[in-house]
Amino acid sequence: MTQAFAIPVLETPRLTLRAPAMVDFSAYAAFMATSRTSGMGGPYNEWQAWGIFCHDTACWALFGHGALMIDRRDTGETVGQVGINAGPLFPETELGWLLYEGHEGQGFATEAARALLDWAFSALPLHSLVSYTDPENLASQAVARRLGAVIDPGAPVKDEGDIVWRHHRRAT
């Protein structure tokens, strides 16, 4: 029988993480069309962006984890997305993040990813998960480091040349 799934809403001091909705797609597609996505296989056209947007949302139904949009609590503005992906496109369960243009450098990705990571380790039977960063994407590597992840040189990569960061369940 079909298992019900629920997409959580997560609150942090500055951010609200909530389920993606159709109204989010135009800003998401605009971001995916820019060279800022070159470290994640982009730029992507609208059709490709649609597939990824739906895929990352579908992970909730298929795996019980998936993507959440990042809203600033003070302005209500959507500044990016954080998500946990799985399936044939990913060697292991993956934590990823992206910030729209103009919202970098304020710690939003770290704050959002930390909240989703904490949720994942409490809600899911996971011992560890990984993040893949492009070697040229220093900002994302800094986020991974701030999250406490460590480079796992033996882990399989998603794309050639990826750095694999491993997040372990924190001792409680």
Partner: protein
């Protein structure tokens, strides 16, 4: 034009039952069947054949329509075994939500898609108040065109997705 619902009442597929079938939310295990279908020559009418990664992108993006749009694919079980999928699809570029179907090799010719499609059309009418729903079918896909017509649909001059698509319209106001 029929429109997507403003409020998402169904973030996942409800269970629908017919005389022989159970329609339900897709799950990860269903993908193996879609992968086999997309790898076969039967997928040429869907723009295939597709390798695993592309098949997965299509499968997952369709499943993602449920939380985003409130409609999407139903997996179809016969006696507890997956036999195909019938659903309502509206990826980017589709003029309206579309009725589509797929039956696994070996389950064809049993009226499964017909029976499931009727149930989905009744559900769509009851849930969204739509007066019609269309199929967009490649003109070479005679089998699917025949099924659309057998369901009572009529070929109309309306936009499809690809140039030359046969558009078959089903009147949902009639007692189905």
């Amino acid at each position: 034009m029929i429109q997507r619902p403003q409020h998402i009442a169904h973030p996942m597929a409800p269970v629908l039952t017919t005389a022989r079938l159970l329609l339900r939310m897709p799950r990860y295990e269903d993908f193996a069947h879609r992968q086999a279908f997309y790898a076969s020559d039967r997928a040429i009418w869907e723009g295939g054949p597709f390798a695993r990664d592309e098949a997965w992108r299509i499968f997952a993006s369709e499943v993602g329509q449920w939380p985003l749009m409130g409609f999407g694919p139903f997996s179809v079980d016969l006696d507890g075994t997956y036999v195909g999928e019938v659903g309502i699809y509206q990826p980017q570029g589709y003029p309206e939500p579309e009725l589509g179907w797929f039956v696994v090799d070996g389950a064809e010719g049993k009226g499964i898609a017909t029976e499931a499609a009727r149930a989905v059309m009744v559900w769509a009418h009851d849930s969204f108040g739509w007066d019609h729903i269309d199929n967009y079918i490649d003109p070479g896909n005679a089998r699917s065109i025949a099924l659309g017509l057998r369901l009572g649909g009529v070929i109309v001059d309306a936009p499809g997705v690809d140039p030359g698509d046969v558009v078959i319209r089903h009147d949902l106001r009639a007692a189905i």
